[in-house]
Symmetry: C2
Subunit: 340 residues, 2 copies
DNA sequence: CTGAAAGCGCTTACAG
DNA sequence: CTGAAAGCGCTTACAG
């Protein structure tokens, strides 16, 4: 590997000290204009790039944020990352993006690697497997700030940017009730996932507020796997008293549910109406188009980043963790809109 | 921000030199077992993490690869990244993931930032806007290795992992011909995109080999935008002699084409058969399910990484750039399968 | 306006 | 088996 041009090379060639080079490159006012000119010109000519490792080391600052998400291929996360990126760039920070593939072990490794002086703070959405929080508590002990979004850990007193999942599910459920559904099932995620549980709660609240029963046989937990969603839907359809409405915890799983419904020639929305969450692009493409609750992904990313940087740059030590609950928006499409 | 534990802190507390700490932590054989024990225990107790910036600086090695893709939200790139990640981890390298949002300017900035001592090599898929290659030539001049995948620049003599787009399009076109299509249109990407042009070439070859004419009015270039695909499809349908087969350069655009066909009540595949490229998850979900050419994304990522690391670690200086052309696989679904 | 020196957190010959 | 010293590529008081 070729030798990179350093400040020393420039200094030697121009017969000045490295200190002068350093100052000239950073436009410090005390440098004589001719000197600065010469330095800048040579730097350009030799395509000098300052070594960011050295700068970070001496300044004890990297201006870099570590981002850890379950999977970059999930549209939701890719979309939140766009928000994170926008805010980070605007405030002069770089990103280190990593994914855990939903594995606790990879989350642990990513946190450890990045906390070896590489980042000044973390934005994290927990892996599905994560139960043990030691890796995150260690960050806190070291004073490295941390912000959660989407999948948090209740136990930790840190900033969080969440959406009002209870309210979102309430609205979705009410929407089905308004469209005449009498028996609404809920296809949930794993029992351990907060987001899923909150949506379940909103669903329950809506049923109760409208004089309907919350029935255990209508609440089923799957993993985040399409095949599981298909199986659960078939199970629901085999019930003696089958549901006429279905709330699915994610679009991804809703795709499975819809294919099961289609396979049995069940009319959507007339026999079973469906609403899900996330409003991924797929919702507009599937037949029937899928009603879904949209999350403000860009804002989630932007706000999480803003909170994190505020905390990083809080010299006074007065920063208090802040929990933001952003509003969602139900997008009604064919899968739930019954023509009365 | 709290002070991170350093080698110096450990040395002071144990009354040994930093050199001894450094050696003990890295399990060097010359250290006395008791000393090593004491060091390791204290390091654990204090949760010591070596500062990777310092290590990288002194070793002049980061064992990190920079990855630059147009958009992480494109399923294709997210999927290739999984392959890159797998190989990188296996060979002890880390990744720095960045996206350009298809902007040349962001590509330039990403290349510059990462080449400030942060990465030892790059895996790049060019942004749609990229024409000027100076930023990449500068990398070459500095001896920083570079591997392309998917979207390359012909001009540069570097390793590339591509797919046989000509062959893939030939197969897709032949498939439509075999299914009785007599007039096959091609919805291409921008004129400057190599991948699109290669597919166009395969399409032309197939037509010629089967005694069909290549007609300019049946070849239309769009941007990678859904609305554009819709408009182009309508235009095709308005032709005096309209096509009965359609090859679309990406699944994303095919979704637009299909929605235009549906809007005009054209039967797929009987009136117009459709095949596209990439085999994204959407193909199995859309109605009708979409025939598409699958790319070996994991292999693309793995092979690109393997080539890059081989070049990085090529002490002998004997590495020669290698161009790999991987095979694709046509996945036939409803949109192109006519029942004869 | 410029330079010598110390230091960021490590590693590594060299000496003992 | 261990330590002192030099050095990776920078920045920054301090002195002149």
């Amino acid at each position: 590997m070729a030798h990179q041009v350093t400040i020393k090379d420039l200094a030697r060639h121009l017969n000045v000290s490295v200190a002068t080079i350093s100052r000239a490159l950073r436009d410090m006012p005390e440098i004589k204009p001719e000197t600065r000119q010469a330095v800048l010109q040579l730097a350009k000519e030799w395509d000098y790039q300052p070594n960011i490792l050295a700068t970070s080391l001496v300044k004890s600052r990297t201006k870099t944020i570590g981002v850890i998400v379950p999977d970059l291929a999930y549209h939701f996360f890719a979309s939140v990352i766009k928000g994170i990126e926008a805010e980070a760039i605007a405030r002069g920070y770089s990103l280190l993006l990593t994914q855990t593939s939903e594995l606790y072990e990879r989350e642990l490794i990513n946190v450890q690697n990045l906390s070896r002086g590489q980042v000044e703070g973390f934005i994290i959405s927990l892996s599905q497997e994560t139960v043990d929080l030691d890796h995150l508590k260690r960050l806190q002990r070291k004073g490295i700030p941390l912000v959660f979004f989407d999948r948090d850990a209740q136990e930790l007193d840190v900033s969080k940017v969440m959406v009002d999942n209870v309210g979102a599910a309430y609205e979705a459920t009410k929407h089905l009730i308004d469209n005449g559904c009498k028996r609404i099932a809920f296809l949930a995620g794993p029992q351990s996932v907060t987001v899923s549980n909150q949506r379940l709660e909103g669903y329950g609240n809506a049923l109760k507020d409208h004089g309907m029963l919350v029935e255990d046989e209508l609440i089923l937990h799957g993993e985040y796997a399409l095949s599981k969603a298909v199986a659960i839907t078939h199970h629901l359809l085999n019930l003696e008293n089958r549901p006429d409405g279905l709330i699915v915890v994610s679009d991804r799983l809703a795709v499975g549910a819809i294919s099961a419904l289609k396979a049995r020639n069940i009319k959507i929305p007339d026999e079973v109406a469906v609403v899900s969450f996330n409003d991924e692009p797929i919702c507009t493409v599937i037949t029937p188009t899928l009603s879904s609750v949209a999350q403000p992904t860009l804002d989630i990313g932007r706000n999480a980043t803003s909170l994190l940087i505020d905390e990083i740059e809080d010299a006074a030590g007065t920063f208090k963790p802040e929990i933001q609950i952003l509003k969602t928006q139900l997008i009604v499409r064919e899968s739930s809109q019954r023509l009365k």
